[in-house]
Amino acid sequence: MQILFIDNDGGGFADYVEVADGTTVEQFFAKQMAGRAPEAYLIRVNRQPVSRDQVLQEGDRVTVTPTKIEGAA
């Protein structure tokens, strides 16, 4: 199934990605953001905070935004 994934980490990626049926939010994050700690991100599905075990549905909109990003001068 396809879901819209908006990754606000780094360059900002926004596109549809293919995801297996039954994939949870936790599993999706672990695959798309391998090596990153979920606690360091705001994860929203369809603009709502969700539990990690929520199962993604076709057409869901998933946004991942770091809670802290280094600025500059």
């Binding site: 908006i6 606000n8 980490d9 780094g10 360059g11 900002g12 926004a14 705001l42 929203r44 603009r47 946004t63 935004t65 770091p66 809670t67 802290k68 990003i69 280094e70 600025g71 500059a72 001068a73």
Partner: protein, 354 residues
């Protein structure tokens, strides 16, 4: 305390943002037309050049060929640029802008994330307030992130600013209210690209949350003012924290000192710390280690000026020795003169036998 925007107000603000983003599409169409015109003109030039080159080839005229070739190459470069512009303009036009509904959902989500949104009709700005920010023990207060709707699509202008609501600016610069905010302008650092993408696609909530994420982090490698210096600078010698106008920077060791721990060299007038100052034993003036030198004769340390003027004590001792030696010489000379004048007469040998 501000009340959350009502749904009707959210729709109004969403409408403003939608109109502004739509104006970008109109600008992209104009741009596309301009690029097409340039490409068409380039193609006409190339056709004309091709006709002329054919004439040259048919009549065996090689003279005009170099000039024609230059023109072909130049036109080719301009055409290539125009075609790239066409591609970019086409991509921008093909990009589907957010619908009014989507923008409305963005604003509603931003209101949920931040507790409330505010809309200033006069300035045509939407704003959200962060929680109080504290970085490494330094309290900076809450910040209001203003999204300037008229500037959303202006490539020359950053369409958001960050205003400290309870400012605790750096002691050395009142305009710096956060290590990465100066004059209400955030330097987004690692978030720049993501914020740009979010602005392009009308993801207003993402813009607010990304800006907040920058405010909640500290990058010690690149602040306007480092947090270590936030309340003023510390004297390297005694640890006293001083306001900026009391800081004395030692030219020699490159560290900051308070006025009690710093002085200045009476030779070069540079500010130095007391540790880098010496006292010339001759003139007794405070002298920095750069202006101190060593007497080549006796190895004594003194200032360069005293050495130039031959004021080293060893030179005085030498002169004194010279003065002491002068009377002994006179006596020796006088003795020699007397000895010379008292030479005995030598009698002839015959007289001695007589």
């Amino acid at each position: 305390m501000r009340r959350p925007l009502t749904d009707k107000q959210l729709v109004r603000v969403a409408g403003r943002i939608h109109d502004q983003l739509a104006s970008t599409a109109a600008a992209s169409l104009l741009n596309l037309e301009a690029q097409l015109q340039q490409a068409a003109a380039g193609a006409d030039h190339l056709r004309a050049s091709r006709r002329k080159l054919r004439i040259c080839q048919q009549r065996g005229w090689m003279g005009p060929v170099p000039r024609l070739l230059n023109r072909v190459e130049r036109t080719g470069r301009e055409l290539s640029y125009a075609l790239s512009g066409l591609e970019r303009a086409g991509r921008a036009l093909r990009r589907k802008g957010p619908s009014l509904r989507e923008i409305h959902d963005e604003l509603r989500q931003a209101q949920d994330e931040f507790g409330t949104l505010h809309y200033d009709r006069r300035l045509d700005e939407g704003s959200a307030v962060t929680e109080p920010v504290e970085l490494e023990g330094v309290y900076l207060g809450p910040f209001e992130i203003h999204l300037e709707i008229p500037s959303l699509t202006d490539p020359r202008h950053t369409p958001y600013r960050v205003v400290a609501l309870d400012p605790h600016p750096a002691a050395c610069n009142a305009a710096v209210t956060h290590p990465h905010v100066s004059d209400d302008r955030l330097c987004p650092g690692d978030a720049a690209a993501a914020i740009g993408k979010a602005l392009d696609t009308g993801r207003v909530c993402d813009v607010f949350t990304l800006v907040r994420s920058v405010l909640l982090a500290y990058n010690p490698e690149s602040p306007y003012v480092a947090l270590d210096d936030w309340f003023g600078q510390t004297c390297y010698e005694c640890g006293y924290t001083m306001p900026p106008d009391e800081v004395r920077w030692c030219e020699l060791c490159g560290r900051d000192f308070c006025s009690e721990c710093a002085g200045y060299c009476h030779r070069c007038d540079e500010t130095t710390c007391l540790g880098c100052l010496r006292t010339c034993p001759v003139c007794e003036e405070p002298t920095c280690t750069s202006c101190m030198t060593v007497c080549p004769d006796c190895g004594r340390e003194l200032c360069g000026l005293c050495l130039e003027e031959n004021l080293c004590p060893c030179h005085e001792e030498e002169e004194k020795d010279d003065d002491d030696d002068q009377p002994t010489d006179r006596a020796a000379n006088e003795g020699a003169e007397q000895a010379a004048s008292a030479t005995p007469t030598v009698q002839p040998a015959g007289d001695a036998r007589g």
